[in-house]
Symmetry: C2
């Protein structure tokens, strides 16, 4: 597909997944890392080009660079001096005089390596981020003053370099934390950051396909992957949920735009991982950025049309960067969850999580070939994709419990798998998997409407549809009703059946607050034989539709809901087709019986017939 | 995950994809094949265990077997004598005295290798397959008589062994084909098969998790992957579509059951590929079976919860076979298409297809690392998954054209990429991609109803929904109307808006023939101000629902359809949410204007307001 050899500085799990993507495209990748590094294990074809050494060692990098046409990174802790020198010696790919050999640029790596420089870079480029100050002092009084300049405590004291997975961060919640913080991070270059009070951590992978750094043209030079919600424990990424739960699409678009602008501000091509904070006021700031594929983008392997690894490879190669079309980075599924498998107390404790995953249909296991586990070491991950967030949340639940149990034992000595499993079993009892989320809501204004709904509900019980039946009145609990409508789409309802009689406002009012289809079932009230209810439900103003069924015909209300759900749930459509056929068969049988028995004896038997056209 | 080393006889593309799956599970796989075979290229960790040699050579197999705990195949043309001997020397996996080392059994391979024996085996086990007769004769007269015994010409003359991708098959359409057929297949053991007049070729991958051969317990010892439709050109698999297009679910279930029974009749575990014919009368017969992952199962990598490769590895390992739960082999997407990339006239001609795929968002490229292409050689494949068959058909279309163009040139000498591309450009002009299939149908009984539908249609034109508007009358074209309804679900419609006035039978009759939600829009006819239409539409019998909107309110009919489609199309739901917000904003603006301008001057301006609550 492409004849260039890609040299990757670092051969951990990110390198391994880059190699995996490269194999599918038949692109040659060479690795600079220790012998038997995860990325090397799965790459025999480039064995001759691998170098055993360190990406942090200038001589090794120089030696390695001679074997690769394009150089890139799977880790940013590299020696940028030697990269700068290599770039000035031979800046371009030999057969493509317009394409830089080192992608993204060593300047980008240098800016990102020093987190304080990174923050200043964002500020200069108009990218919102937490205010920060360099810490030149080692005196508590000096740091206290910096804290005051940042608006007072709490603040976060951070090492400027060599910090990852929370190492190098020290939160200063009150004055007594200042001295221990300075001691903990002694001898390192430091900076202090204003405390970001976020309600969610988000991440966006962005692929940059042009060399130039230009925030203004971010729409031309970058494409975003979906927004993902990240959950950290002990400062290490534990889970990602895509799309982020409970984050409106408008805010997701804002997050993608901000991430693209942040990435557009750096030189060179490739995938960048952008960590964001969603603040209490719904504004978004950039936390930090990684100039490479990122843990929070693992989900893209199964969930997106193109993985972050393929995107990175294509973006750094001269002939392929321009082939990445809009849409390529989109989700191919409705929901995805990723769980990191971290090392536990024993070398193989983490395998408990992978083994539990074997039993979960749809759990995609990725083990990195790292050998022995250590507490907190990233040994693998699991991705589950599905039709809904509710589905993937339910499937991942027992695996989170197992991972939590491994973590709970991480400092124990000689912990058997059985002990960890016992913890998991106990936790699962305390915290069982959430029930399947309902796809259909049936609401009524008063419990007197239940009699009308009963035939429909009895039929519903035979269908493969999880549902919720509740009471909410347009007149007695108007606010509750509006709130129910507002939340309906994000709760995952695909239809709402609303029954009401008389003035019958419930279906129409519910429909005013949601984009979910509302089915109105007119109940016969005290007068007019239900005609009042029918008109109150069906004659909605233009703009707000209610799907109205016949007076008191709850069977049809439920069947209509099933038809709606069946448009995206093949099992439900299959049930409905069988039901149509059954009604057909029943009616033909009735006809045959009526013809053969005569009308005189027919009536009694009719009572025995199930459902449908009675 | 598992400490056993899996030895694979053969290291082509199937072996390569097995290795890929093994890496994710951290399972060690060793390969017996020539140096630099595709599977070895991506497997450094087992390099020491690989053997350079042939899976058909007994000595090589014996030498290789010593290095592996479990032996399996990626090709059935292996020496079963040596496998039989190995099995009698050490039948079980060393640390698991109940698990056979050779999976599936050498007996299974031997039965399948000889296609006539395979057919007889099916017949003995009650598996429907084409009638066949061994051909002991080399005389045309003898073959003619066999043809008569099989019910007359046409028949298919087939080599019993070493036949694949159509090589070894010779169709005898009439008497004059007999002599050339015998010449073409001279010196090979032959059999003759009754001609199967099929309307579709299907395939089902089946994973078998127990050692025993028992057709009766097929539900306990096998799990099926989805049914896939295979398209062959020049007897080589060209495309697969999953689920199969236009095949009712009932028939798909029958195909899966038949495939499971066929596989259950063989000894040992692993994945089997079952090729089926769907005959003109909707019955299904088994064509042939492969005791390994299969070309027609490549799609499972992206489309199913578990790939056929992972399923094979897990099924052959003692500790993992029982972890494959029902559901694990299901589709995780709605539709998938797979296109084989075959070699063309020049060593790299096939890369044209892969390069075209780079431009198609969602096209997953797999190149096998086979080096130079030759006409017809399988060099790679492309899989596209999506929300609907229509979507994946449109996306794959230009790639099929490119593949066809490579094939059209396959026997040309020195054909440049430009010449092939020119052919592709021309073909694409003659045969452009099919238009996006409509998700919404709007039907009316007469063109006089168009006036009522117009406001809704004008709004629909602003929505991201492909649609069809047509005329079909319950009374003037009843059969056409019923046919339209019958085909609606398989055409991919997610909603039907039906407008009718007066007796207004159209919506209800349409709803009687489909599981797709039907929205009824009552048109004001000559009398009763539309009340007659409303009642005729809304008061349906129990069992057949019509979603009825207000009299002449086509805007709401379309908005309701959009809400239904929005339950599975996030873009549509996003549009609707913005539209709700816009209506809210407009109304608030009107309120503000009315308050500030006073009611006296208000009316004129109202005309300028767009859509919604006028």
């Amino acid at each position: 597909m492409d004849s260039h050899t890609v040299g990757v500085l670092g051969g951990g799990q990110l390198g391994r997944m880059l190699v995996e993507a490269a194999h599918r495209l038949n692109i040659k990748v060479a690795i600079l890392d220790s012998e038997n590094a995860p990325a090397k294990q799965i790459n025999q074809i480039a064995a001759a080009a691998h170098i055993t050494g360190s990406f942090a060692n200038a001589e090794d990098v120089r030696h390695f660079a001679a074997k690769a046409d394009v150089l890139t990174y799977e880790i940013e802790h590299v020696d940028t001096q030697v990269l700068e020198a290599l770039d000035s010696e031979s800046p371009f790919v030999e057969d493509s005089q317009s394409w830089r050999r080192i992608q993204p640029s060593w300047r980008t790596i240098r800016q990102i390596q020093d987190k304080f420089v990174q923050k200043q870079h964002f500020a200069e480029n108009g990218i919102p981020t937490a205010d920060s100050k360099g810490v030149g002092t080692t005196s508590p009084q000096g740091l206290k003053e910096i804290g005051l300049e940042l608006g007072g405590l709490p603040i976060m004291l951070k090492a400027r370099t060599q910090a990852y997975d929370g190492r190098g961060n020290y939160p200063i919640m009150n004055l007594s934390d200042i001295e221990p913080a300075l001691r903990a991070l002694a001898d390192r270059p430091l900076y202090a950051e204003r405390w970001a009070s976020f309600k969610k951590e988000l991440a966006v992978m962005v692929v940059k396909t042009k060399q130039e750094a230009n925030v203004d043209t971010y729409e031309q030079i970058t494409l975003p992957f979906p927004v993902t919600e990240t959950i950290h424990t002990d400062s290490i990424c534990k889970l990602t949920f895509t799309p982020p739960r409970g984050v409106p699409i408008k805010i997701q678009r804002q997050a993608q735009d901000l991430a693209r602008k942040a990435v557009a501000s750096f030189e060179g091509t490739g995938v960048f991982g952008v960590e964001l904070f969603l603040l209490e006021d719904d504004s978004i700031i950039v936390n930090e950025i990684a100039p490479r594929p990122h843990n929070s983008g693992h989900y893209t392997i199964e969930a997106c049309h193109m993985s972050q690894y393929e995107a990175h490879l294509r973006a750094i190669l001269p002939g392929l960067a321009d082939t990445i079309e809009p849409g390529a980075t989109d989700l191919a599924v409705n929901a995805a969850v990723m769980l990191n498998i971290l090392g536990g107390p024993e070398p193989n404790s983490h395998l408990l999580v992978a083994k539990a995953a074997l039993k979960v249909p749809g759990a995609k296991i990725h083990l990195y070939g790292k050998g022995d586990g250590r507490p907190g070491r990233k040994m693998g991950h699991i991705t589950i994709v599905g039709k809904s967030m509710s589905e993937v949340e339910r499937k991942i639940h027992p695996l989170i419990i197992t991972a939590d149990s491994v973590r709970a034992h991480k400092h124990s000595e000689r912990t058997s798998d059985e002990a960890i499993q016992a913890t998991a079993d106990e936790l699962l009892k305390l915290n069982p998997a959430p029930p399947e989320k309902p796809l259909l809501a049936i609401v009524m204004g008063s419990d007197t409407d239940l009699a009308t709904l009963r035939p429909g509900l009895e039929l519903l019980d035979k269908m493969p549809i999880p549902y919720l039946v509740t009471i909410t009145s347009a007149h007695r609990t108007p606010q509750h009703m509006l709130n129910f409508g507002k939340a309906a789409a994000s709760r995952g309802f695909k239809a709402i059946v609303a029954a009401a009689g008389g003035a019958a406002h419930l279906p129409g009012m519910m429909a005013s607050e949601t984009t979910v289809p509302v089915i109105g079932c007119p109940v016969k009230a005290s007068s007019m034989d239900g005609l009042d209810s029918l008109f109150a439900i069906v004659q909605m103003p233009r703009g707000i539709p209610v799907a109205t069924v016949g007076i008191a015909n709850s069977t049809n209300a439920i069947l209509l809901a099933a038809r709606i759900i069946g448009t995206s749930e093949p099992k439900v459509q299959e049930w409905l087709a069988a039901h149509l056929q059954q009604m057909d068969d029943e009616n033909m049988a009735k006809a045959a019986r009526l013809e053969s028995e005569g009308w005189q004896t027919y009536k009694k038997l009719d009572q025995a017939m199930p459902l449908s056209f009675k």
